[in-house]
């Protein structure tokens, strides 16, 4: 748990009560025998109840007739034939995460389905809907040709059947799916299939606010080769019925959409403010809050120079075309693959993609010296596209998953064609200055004598990466005051609409660091942490500020990732904060919240210099 330990008393009591209760519970002596009988008798029991029970004989008869006729028609259909064929083969191994919302999801049994529905409160909660022109059959084709990386064909068929059944009498489900579809359209995501993987409505008193949310898989339609990949997942929740801030800022979401309410902000409305949403804690709207709203969707892409304000869309009830406005509260990267950053292609999927891309995010001393062009996804190298090269064009071929990465088919600036890892491509227009002179340059060089003007082009986003394992040497001199300039400047990046000038500071806990110290790490020693950080920030340099969190007693560190534009001698050096990683030591749960001692010993640090007056560091105007 990365939760700060404010509940040590109640945690202790719960733990003790649970343990005491557990000790008092022992299985009954005949438990195994009864269980074995139940397993053996299950099928017979069903037959007895439904086939031969006197009450149900008429029902069974009618059902048998209907099934006979229905099955006959079904068998004549191509889907039926495929179902029969697929039933003859052993299903592919399914990862539990593929089952997603409920283990029952993969079952075709009526009982499992009924159980599922009764618990979720929603009928037909699983479904597939292709998005695209009417009559476009590629989505259906994709369903039949889904590769094993996505799901088994049998399961998709089952989902489709269940969804179509559910849709007929489940306006709730339809509305949710419509909302998701609409959002994707607004984002320009086309030629994808949207699969509802879970969702629930309030159906009884023990449901909680999140039960009204719904989640979807978004995946490409099958290309010529029959490939289809999961691009991202999407979660939505209706405004006014339990939109929960915490849901919207999960560490795992690589991008999300938050809304801004027009007009005067109230405490409840704070969650829709693009600044305050990340400062608010656990705010929920009440059920009766049904005021019409205009919501500005602001993509918050943690590390991304790809973020451009123009991506904002205005959505209102009319735009969405539903009785509710749904807010996308989160979207995850590919279910397969480590880098959530690579989910970004969701924006660019589709045959209308005419964008050109820039190679970025590679360390300048990368062994390859650029982005490797390969003959096949994750295949043999056939060329190299240098760091900073612009004009890389995507081919209209569906992306593929290979080696935990999403691969795009591209045409390199020199005309060569092949596959590249998509996470190192950003649209050309994501950068003000196409000459990405120092995207990978060493921050320490940038800090040597130039005034840093923080220019935040996106909201940085804290991501828990892993335990601290890399105490590093401290660079002295001007670095530290400059670093603090960056940090304080970051705190001034607000929407200018109110006095929340330090909301970013509060959010990132910068104020907590007043007794902290600054380190300039060379990188993560922990491979997993390094991989995660690089996935987000592509090896950009960072400043780290480290201290002990007084709330938890644990050691924490904030890494501020910076990209630098302009040469030192040009006098126009600009450094933009492109991301923040919040790193925490493992903290003992329960008892007092004291952190484990750093296994690597104390971090070499120097005392923090007095931070400059906040008013002396002005963010550059947009």
């Amino acid at each position: 748990m990365t939760e700060p330990n404010n509940f040590s008393g109640v945690e202790r009591r719960i733990t003790e009560a649970f343990r005491s209760h557990a000790d008092s519970v022992q299985p009954s002596p005949d438990a195994y025998a009864r269980l074995a009988r139940a397993v053996n008798a299950k099928d017979a029991g069903v037959l007895e109840r439904w086939g031969f029970g006197s009450y149900f004989r008429p029902v069974a008869f009618v059902a048998a007739v209907l099934v006979a006729f229905g099955l006959g028609g079904y068998m004549l259909s191509s889907q039926g034939m495929q179902a029969v064929e697929s039933a003859n083969g052993a299903p592919a191994a399914v990862d539990p995460t593929d089952v997603l919302e409920d283990p029952d999801a993969g079952s075709s049994s009526a009982e499992a389905q009924a159980d599922d529905e009764s618990q979720s409160g929603v009928s037909g909660s699983l479904g597939v809907r292709p998005i695209g022109p009417e009559g476009d059959n590629r989505g259906a084709e994709a369903l039949r040709q889904t590769p094993s990386t996505v799901a088994s064909g049998e399961r998709v068929e089952s989902e489709t059947e269940r969804y179509m059944e559910g849709l007929a009498y489940s306006p709730v489900g339809k509305t949710r799916l419509d909302a998701a579809e609409k959002f994707l359209e607004l984002l320009g995501v086309t030629d994808v299939d949207v699969i509802e993987t879970g969702g629930a409505a309030n159906s009884d008193s023990d449901s909680d606010a999140d039960d009204v949310s719904s989640s979807f898989l978004v995946r490409t339609r099958a290309g010529e080769g029959g490939d289809s990949v999961i691009i991202t997942t999407l979660s939505i929740a209706p405004i006014g019925e339990g939109f929960v801030v915490d849901e919207a800022r999960s560490d795992e979401y690589n991008f999300e959409f938050v809304g801004a309410v027009e007009g005067e902000l109230t405490e409840e409305d704070d969650i829709f403010d693009p600044i305050n949403i990340i400062a608010a804690t656990d705010v929920e709207l009440t059920d009766d809050d049904t005021r019409p709203r205009t919501v500005t969707l602001v993509p918050v892409i943690p590390p991304s120079p790809r973020f451009v304000a123009e991506d904002s869309r205005v959505v209102d009830h009319d735009t969405v075309g539903a009785s509710r406005v749904w807010v996308v509260v989160g979207a995850e990267g590919p279910l397969v693959g480590r880098s959530p950053f690579s989910a970004k292609p969701a924006y660019f999927v589709g045959s209308d993609d005419r964008s050109e891309y820039t190679v970025f995010g590679l360390a300048p001393d990368d062994d390859d010296g650029g982005l490797v062009l390969r003959a096949e996804p994750n295949g043999e190298p056939i060329g190299l596209i240098r760091l900073g090269a612009t004009g890389v064009k995507r081919l209209t071929i569906a992306p593929r998953l290979a080696g935990d990465r999403v691969w795009w088919a591209v045409t390199a600036p020199d005309g060569a064609q092949g596959w590249v890892a998509s996470e190192y491509l950003a649209p050309n227009d994501a950068f003000d200055d196409a000459a990405l002179v120092a995207l990978g340059s060493d921050l320490r060089d940038a800090l040597s004598g130039q005034l840093l003007i923080p220019r935040v082009t996106t909201f940085a986003y804290p991501v828990y990466v892993g335990p601290i394992t890399d105490p590093q040497q401290v660079k002295r001199g001007l670095e530290m005051p400059m670093a603090w300039s960056v940090v304080r400047g970051l705190g001034q990046q607000t929407d200018g609409s109110d006095d929340s000038g330090d909301s970013m500071v509060r959010y990132f806990g910068i104020d907590r660091w007043t007794d902290g110290e600054i380190v300039v790490p060379d990188g993560y020693l922990d491979p997993a942490a390094r991989r995660s950080a690089n996935a987000y920030f592509g090896g950009l340099p960072s400043i780290a500020i480290e201290t002990v969190n007084p709330d938890t007693g644990g050691r924490e560190r904030v890494h501020i990732f910076v990209s630098h534009r302009g040469g030192h001698d040009s006098g126009l050096a600009h450094t933009a904060i492109v991301g923040i990683v919040l790193e925490r030591e493992p903290i003992n749960k329960g008892v007092g919240g004291r952190g484990e001692p750093n296994p690597n010993g104390p971090v070499v640090t120097t005392p923090r210099p007095k931070p400059p007056d906040r008013t002396t560091v002005k963010p550059e105007p947009d």
């Binding site: 399914v94 409920d102 995850e332």
Partner: protein
């Protein structure tokens, strides 16, 4: 093809721990007691808890799942939690329509200060919304990691955190915890 092994259907045969991972004996040996205890956190009758677990076992063994080795526990946990909630819901409906149904009463031997405190906490947990209760139980009883809880409940890790936070806060309110160390400052990062 998965093979389901059922042994000792009569006479309380001893489970065979060496059987394949999806055989009843090994599943029973490894998970049954733990799952009964888990279910009993929700339902206040042990008999009901065992029924819930039994249903989950039957569903797992007879259902058309293709489960990767080592994932049985996650499936079982999910099924048990769903079953327990379903039982609770049905019971609530029954009580609404037949208010005379008595609440379970602790025996004289079971009563006492410790039992009272424990029941108070368990009842408080049962009052929590479904997901919050599930997260709290998995976290503080089964001691599962955030990732394991997320897998078991089919939710994102961030949701696990938020449910845990809200659940603890609600429990604190219900239990009137005087050891509370204070809420997060307004707008502070959790």
């Amino acid at each position: 093809m998965r093979v389901v092994t059922v042994e000792g259907s009569e006479g309380g045969a001893t489970p065979d721990a060496d059987a394949s991972s999806l055989s009843l004996p090994s599943l029973y040996d490894t998970h049954y007691t733990r799952m009964v205890r888990l279910a009993s956190m929700y339902v206040d009758h042990q008999e009901s808890a065992e029924e819930v677990v039994q249903d989950a076992f039957v569903k797992l063994l007879k259902g058309n799942y293709n489960i990767k080795p080592g994932s049985e526990a996650a499936y079982l946990r999910r099924m048990v939690l769903n079953g327990a909630h379903s039982t609770l819901r049905k019971r609530r409906v029954r009580r609404r329509h037949s208010p005379q149904e008595p609440e379970p009463v602790a025996s004289a031997e079971e009563s006492g200060v410790c039992r009272s405190e424990r029941d108070r906490i368990l009842n408080a947990v049962r009052q929590l919304p479904k997901k919050q209760a599930a997260v709290i139980v998995l976290r503080y009883y089964l001691d599962l990691s955030e990732a394991e809880i997320a897998e078991s409940l089919g939710m994102a890790r961030g949701s696990v955190k938020s449910h845990a936070h809200r659940g603890l806060r609600k429990l604190q309110q219900i239990l009137g915890d005087d050891e509370r160390t204070g809420d997060l400052p307004a707008g502070g990062r959790p």
